[in-house]
Symmetry: C2
């Protein structure tokens, strides 16, 4: 683990690669980085963070409280334009829309992702907590496994692997040993490899970074996201996050993935659900 560098919020790989440049009112440019790809596909959580950052600049409130993305066509590393629309501004919440566009091989503009979100200010929320949820039972970080822990457990071979610290609970690693549990569960410790702490934007990345639960259901292959909704409920404390992902319903060629993200202070900082297609393997 590259603890040495200890990047900080605002000055890290993640911040550099999600930074958008304002070109005009509601128009932002970005060069999508090839460093956040997995098998040549740009990671969906990274893309959501890019759109989330554009909206945090376009709207009067800084933090995504609830953000939904529909993934339309596969994004590629390279230049892209984000267009935002302010739908409504209120005292405590504002709602915005954003879409990311690129040129295809014929020079036609293609929309990659469409996002709808409501933003607020996490620091303005009261401290009341009445939650019945408990943090996922994950063994200590040094008893979990990542791609760097040898040829066996987690397949590597994507640029994204070098950006993220992901240590998977061995109880949800059966698939990597050819013995999937049959349960739709995946749990892991999550961080950015350069040591940058989590913030609301990097939570958008955390919810879509683990291996697919479909692997533990005995499926292989690609599980493309159709739609992903993230609720950011609290500003995360410094330190690694615990992410738990559950699938209850694989049917008709689709499945849902529900993620919970817990911070080092044992607070539930984000909840997400995505609808994804499965290729039965």
């Amino acid at each position: 683990m590259a603890q040495a560098s200890q990047a900080t919020i605002g000055s890290s790989e993640f911040d550099r690669d999600t930074a958008v440049t304002r070109r005009a009112e509601g128009v932002y440019a970005i060069d999508l980085s090839a460093d956040w790809t997995i098998f040549n596909a740009v990671n969906g959580g990274y893309l959501l963070a890019v759109l989330g950052r554009a909206l945090s600049q376009a709207l009067p409130h800084p933090d995504p409280f609830t953000i939904t993305a529909h993934y339309l066509t596969a994004s590629r590393p390279g230049p892209a334009v984000v267009r935002t629309e302010t739908v409504r501004t209120g005292r405590t919440l504002s709602t915005g829309q954003a879409s990311l566009h690129q040129y295809d091989d014929e020079g036609n503009e293609v929309e990659r992702i469409r996002v709808l979100a409501s933003y607020g200010d996490l620091d303005g929320l009261p401290d009341d907590v009445r939650t019945s949820a408990v943090p996922p039972a994950i063994p200590p970080l040094d008893q979990c496994f990542g791609p760097e822990d040898g040829p066996a457990p987690v397949p590597s071979g994507s640029a994204l692997t070098d950006r993220l610290m992901i240590k998977v609970d061995p109880a949800t690693l059966g698939w990597a040993l050819g013995q999937p549990s049959g349960k739709g569960e995946m749990r892991a410790w999550f961080g950015l490899k350069d040591g940058r702490d989590a913030d609301p934007l990097s939570l958008l990345l955390a919810v879509d970074a683990l291996p697919p639960t479909a692997f533990e259901l005995g499926l292989s292959g690609w599980v493309p996201t159709v739609e992903l909704t993230v609720h950011v409920r609290c500003r995360p404390a410094p330190g690694p996050l615990r992410v738990s992902v559950t699938t209850r319903n694989l049917a008709g060629g689709f499945l849902e993935e529900d993620a919970e993200v817990w911070d080092s202070a044992d607070r539930l900082v984000a909840q997400s659900r995505q609808l994804a297609r499965v290729r039965l393997g």
Copy 2:
């Protein structure tokens, strides 16, 4: 229960009151019915069904697979206009956006709701089911309680009550007797009072029709929805539905409500999550 009339899909109160009239390409008119209000507020699920119906007419695919609504301002009974945009059309999925507008007292157009959704054809899905979810444990319908079951259990007094058959599991009715369980759970049988069977559009209503889970958490008052996302996973079989709603995280003045809807064939036909504000009472 008004079993006598036995309305059918296409010919029922719900179909009549969600029908939209096409005025132009991507423009639909509707008169929002006062019959779907609760304490003078137009029900959010009814509104989502109206927008869902407009999108099912505007898009090449008929069924909402995943639909997200952001509630911007309070809708009122009366004339409204829905504007749709086709974002992308694909072979098996198409994505669209819709918004509902009304005039305010000063004659200014106000946006009430913004929706983003991907549609497909439920009848075109394969039959595979690998689900670990089980139907909620709800007592038989005649052992559950609705507003018509006497002055005690469920407060009545809204037009919506006369449209819906809702019979709440007594295990989640403590709040009505002044003894909330402290658990964020609500379970009920659900149907349309005129006997119309469920279809994908009425599922959009089913997920937001039960009393708020906040009541069982000991809170009273209004729980306005900020955002609601529904995944429709299967065309429901005829007969009453079972709806289970769970809240795990009440914090910072917000809570999530996760709903599952099961049909009479024991299939999980819809999953939803909403982010709502709470007024601590």
